[in-house]
């Protein structure tokens, strides 16, 4: 069935402050699948990053003219089959693949960010290489995670500095990134690792990979959750104190700024 964005209740009840300034023209879609959990967090992050979040519904093929798309975290369809395996067949994904995938005709294909379950959906949709399996320790784990930003050329990372260390929450059960040896070599050779775990490998991911991008650099997948590190008081702990970390916000200001034609 088709619904308009105003029909979805998730973000409509969102109560954060409205941004001002010229950037709110950047309209960023946030997709809700059944079982999506972090859609309101992603919408808040877009807003705090200076953009306008637009709720997108899994069953609606239309992207409603958004400038970029976020696939948030959660357990789409319960992840009972395999994380992201069913969500990738959602009507909205057909359009995302068309506008962001390798076949996209535009010279500036749609920027897409998949976080956690969203990353899993992007690999299932083959917009990104590799796949996610159960953590090597077999448990769900929630912790503050340090990442190194290794690619600042994407629309989502343009405002980071090369090799910047950031702390964002990580929380997942199926977070172990696996990929064939050939693809891994290609990803590394082409500099397509966007984020890498620093310190102990938290889940057994190949080469400590936390996030990758596609060949054209418009699609980024990331296991940890930058949308949970955008507001002081509610993020990960950092040196200044309890839950003060806001390192994740740069992802959202990066895309808003890129869409507004800005650069770093």
């Amino acid at each position: 069935m088709t619904t308009t964005p105003t029909d979805t209740p998730l973000i409509g009840e969102f109560t954060a402050v409205t941004p001002s300034g010229p950037l709110e023209g950047a309209r960023i879609g946030v997709i809700t699948f059944p079982g999506t959990l972090d859609d309101r967090d992603a919408a808040r992050a877009v807003r705090l990053g200076g953009g306008t979040p637009v709720p997108l519904w899994h069953a609606d093929q239309s992207l409603h003219g958004v400038d970029a798309v976020i696939l948030p975290g959660g357990f789409s369809y319960g992840d009972y089959l395999r994380a992201g395996a069913i969500a990738r067949f959602a009507p909205v994904m057909d359009t995302v693949v068309k506008e962001a995938g390798a076949a996209a005709a535009s010279s500036s294909p749609l920027p897409v960010l998949g976080i956690c379950n969203g990353f899993q959906v992007l690999t299932e949709a083959q917009l990104l290489p590799g796949s996610m399996i159960k953590n090597d320790h077999l448990k769900f784990i929630c912790k503050d995670q340090v990442l190194r930003v290794e690619n600042t050329e994407t629309a989502w990372t343009s405002q980071f500095t090369q090799d910047e260390l950031i702390t964002v929450p990580m929380k997942n059960q199926d977070g172990q990134y696996v990929v064939s040896a050939e693809e891994l070599e290609a990803i590394e050779a082409e500099g397509r690792v966007v984020f890498r775990y620093v310190g102990e490998n938290p889940n057994g991911s190949r080469n400590h990979i936390a996030g990758v991008t596609n060949e054209r650099g418009n699609v980024v997948g990331l296991m940890p959750h930058p949308e949970h590190a955008v507001e002081a008081g509610y993020g990960p702990d950092d040196a200044t104190g309890l839950r003060e970390g806001t390192d994740g916000l740069t992802i959202f200001t990066s895309v808003v700024s890129s869409l507004a034609g800005g650069s770093k």
Partner: protein, 787 residues
């Protein structure tokens, strides 16, 4: 009568009237003989098989509160008008609702899922979360967080190894999939909980005043709809034969009585219900938990116009072989029942379609005063719903103070062998602090809490290990709530009346320590068998203590749950009245963290309150294998004053960290404040020992109540001590935060003058207790595999 399903199908009301001699399996369904006779008396004939099924579950201890009701009345009787001023919905509904101001309200409740979690730890714990969350939804609220007070047997007992990992992953597996942050709880190990673990779950939800919904079926001709998951054969008799009996090795496994959870179905159900509320499409709503359709139909009908007509073959089934009685009793999860006007039916169906939720229209509301359930057009239930839902048996169970209580209370720690060789020198005291912090009850529980999502929703301002879990409700104003749950079963064992008040006092103190103004209480009363007069006395005393305590503190009990029969082979758990307190923040940005801040070097540390020689029931006594004497004294007036000080200090930004003193006393509080961010301290006990007339050992390990530690910038010291002296509340400058030394340094009037404990060393022992038993969460396990 035979056991085949066809014979169930044809046991109509008509058949029951003409076959009074038919024997029914009332005993197998958990009914007592006099209860069965009462059903016959109410109906004027023998019940049908389906009616018997309904009465048996609804009259079970779990659903009817038949043993506890006469005592629980005090929660209503001891409430003053003043206490009710913010209470929008009190005891009796699915969950109580408290006005938070600005048009917001909050609803919260604790429930137990003890018995199922012992039989099948993962599903038992998972569906415990599922059930309490549906209670919250049915009030019209969006669930925003969960907490889980847990109690297990001895940490080294094989049964604990079986139960704990399953319970933890069940809570995580279900709660994480719902998108609800887990913001706190408790983990207690004690051999009394072996074979009777306590798995309590608290859920909190928020709503706008206009979204409040109640469980009643009003409006004759309105339609009754069942939606969510299909009805299956799981959880049949969960409330009656499982939760309302003691465990016994001689009986067969009760696994089929445990429900199986589907968190994805529940997540979709949450969003779907919120959309129904938002679009004003339901007149009344009730979740299906214990006693399933029996409970939902009889409660909705008796709370509304009094009648309902239902066709049971319309229920969508997972298992088509279920009998009508089984369908009525099934506790399959993720189901809701609603009352919808005919005019809204189409819109209701559209919402179901959007979320992909299955539904079936079962019947309609009537004003006949009868609940009529048909099976393929033949009447199989014809009852007054009130007799099922509300007029169950009420027992004045006999109770008396145990003969052994006096001896227990006379056996104090000080006169016991356990006190023969107490630490007295610097070295001994230092070692004792390390020993205390490596006790399973004082240890780092991040192995458990790291398996729970604490970030989802983006509104978690505090979570474990801080004193309270804090959630922002309104993102524009910062309006929010703080919650804590507490209970020390050892205290309650020594004196149930005081023990219940101590649980209340601690939860109240924790909430106030975080900076929230305590507003409301929910309780989960976990006890042994009510058929034992001594257990019943513990229960009666605990309820009386809690009700009196709430009146003194001026905060009402808004709801809760009773879990009885927590005993195995005649051995009962300690009375464990878990108390949850909810408090309000005007702005959660003002919340006070529990740990010394990294930038707080040189800040002053103050101890609030008085320390007496109160080691009975303490964690230190437990380490020495002793339990006897009287629990610490409770002074609720002092708790109230302490709370005001902590709340004002938070609101005015005077303090940067605060932590209450409870299990493990001052030693534990100091260690925990340092371990939080790895920031040390230098403190001196001399003045404390002199002022309160206690020795250094007592100063460190006594568990006197009404105390807290705070750290504040020196620039605030005068303002802070002015406030404490104005309230005549004892405040003593104990020392300073030391962010450089990386240690806990304590000096005092003992041999050697001072001892120091390196935080690295302390952290090592403190954080390895649980992983060393249950395996590393990440590092240790990976290291093992790489070898």
């Amino acid at each position: 009568m035979t056991q085949s399903s066809t014979s169930f199908n044809i046991d109509t009301v008509e058949n029951a009237s003409t076959t009074p001699e038919t024997e029914l399996p009332w005993a197998e369904l958990g009914l007592k003989e006099d209860e069965y006779h009462r059903i016959v008396q109410i109906l004027g004939r023998r019940p049908t098989a389906a009616e018997l099924a309904m009465y048996s579950v609804m009259w079970s201890e779990h659903c009817s509160y038949k043993s506890s009701k006469v005592h629980l009345r005090q929660f209503g009787e001891k409430v003053t008008e003043e206490m009710k001023k913010d209470l929008m919905v009190g005891i009796g509904e699915n969950a109580g609702v408290t006005n938070l101001g600005d048009g917001w309200a909050v609803t919260f409740k604790i429930e137990s899922h003890n018995h199922p979690s012992y039989v099948e730890p993962y599903q038992g714990a998972a569906t415990g979360i599922g059930g309490i969350v549906r209670d919250i939804i049915s009030m019209g609220a969006r669930p925003v967080a969960v907490m889980d007070p847990l109690r297990f047997g001895d940490i080294d007992h094989p049964d604990t190894k079986r139960v704990l990992p399953g319970v933890v992953s069940g809570i995580g597996g279900y709660g994480n999939s719902l998108g609800l942050p887990n913001i706190g709880g408790e983990v207690v190990f004690d051999s009394v909980y072996q074979q009777n673990p306590l798995v309590n779950a608290l859920a909190v939800g928020v709503l706008k005043h206009e979204d409040l919904r109640l469980a009643n079926a009003s409006g004759v001709g309105n339609k009754v709809v069942l939606f969510g998951a299909r009805t299956g054969g799981d959880g049949i008799g969960g409330a009656s034969v499982l939760a309302s009996e003691s465990f016994d090795d001689t009986k067969p496994s009760k696994r089929p009585a445990v429900q199986v959870g589907d968190p994805f179905a529940e997540k979709v159900l949450i969003e779907c219900c919120l959309e129904l509320f938002h679009s004003e499409l339901v007149e009344g709503i009730q979740d299906l938990g214990a006693a399933g359709i029996s409970c939902a139909t009889s409660e909705l009908a008796s709370n509304g116009e009094g009648g309902m007509h239902v066709e049971l073959t319309k229920v969508l089934l997972r298992d088509p072989t279920l009998t009508p009685g089984e369908i009525l009793m099934s506790e399959s999860q993720e189901r809701m029942m609603a009352v919808v006007t005919p005019g809204n039916a189409e819109a209701f169906e559209a919402v179901m379609g959007k979320w992909g939720v299955e539904y079936s229209w079962l019947g309609e509301v009537t004003d006949t005063g009868r609940l009529i359930i048909e099976w393929d057009g033949e009447t199989i239930v014809d009852v007054d719903p009130r007799t099922v839902a509300h007029d169950g048996p009420v027992y004045e169970r006999p109770y008396h103070r145990p003969d052994w209580q006096d001896d227990l209370q006379a056996d104090t720690f000080r006169i016991s062998d356990a006190a023969a060789d107490l630490p007295a020198t610097a070295e001994e005291l230092g070692e004792a602090v390390v020993e205390l912090m490596s006790s399973p009850n004082m240890t780092d529980v991040s192995w458990i809490t790291d398996q729970y999502d604490r970030f989802v929703g983006g509104n978690t301002a505090l979570s474990q290990p801080d004193d309270a879990g804090v959630i922002r409700v309104d993102e524009e104003t910062g309006l929010g709530v703080g919650l804590a749950t507490d209970c020390n079963g050892r205290y309650a064992y020594l004196d149930p009346y005081t023990g219940a008040q101590l649980a209340l006092a601690e939860a109240y103190r924790n909430v106030a320590t975080s900076g929230a103004v305590p507003m409301a209480v929910s309780d989960c009363l976990n006890f042994g068998s009510p058929e034992d007069p001594e257990i019943m006395w513990q229960f009666a005393e605990a309820v009386r203590g809690l009700a009196d305590g709430c009146k003194t503190l001026g905060i009402p009990v808004t709801g809760g749950n009773v879990s009885l029969y927590n005993q195995t082979a005649g051995r009962a758990i300690h009375p464990t009245p878990v108390v949850g307190v909810m408090g309000k923040f005007d702005d959660v940005a003002r919340r006070t963290p529990s740990g010394f801040q990294r930038w707080a070097d040189g800040q002053a540390i103050y101890l609030l309150g008085t320390t007496a020689d109160e080691l009975d029931g303490s964690e230190f006594a437990r380490l020495r294998g002793h339990l006897g004497g009287l629990p610490p004294k409770v002074d609720l007036a002092a708790e109230k004053t302490l709370g005001e000080i902590l709340i004002n200090a938070s609101r005015d930004g005077m303090i940067d960290s605060a932590h209450d003193l409870s299990e493990g006393g001052l030693a534990a509080a100091l260690a925990e404040m340092s371990l939080r961010f790895g920031v040390g301290s230098r403190t001196a006990l001399d003045e404390l020992c002199e002022r309160d007339g206690v020795d250094p050992f007592t100063a460190l390990f006594s568990e006197s109540q009404g105390r807290a530690l705070v750290a504040l910038p020196r620039s605030e010291e005068l303002r802070f001590t002015d406030m404490t002296s104005a309230r005549r509340f004892p405040a003593l400058r104990l020392g300073v935060v030391d962010a450089v030394s990386g240690g806990l340094e304590v000096s005092g009037p003992f041999e050697g003058g001072s001892f120091g404990i390196g935080l690295d060393e302390l952290k090592e022992v403190w954080s390895s207790v649980i992983p060393s038993r249950f395996g590393g969460l990440v590092e240790a396990e990976i290291a093992t595999r790489q070898q």
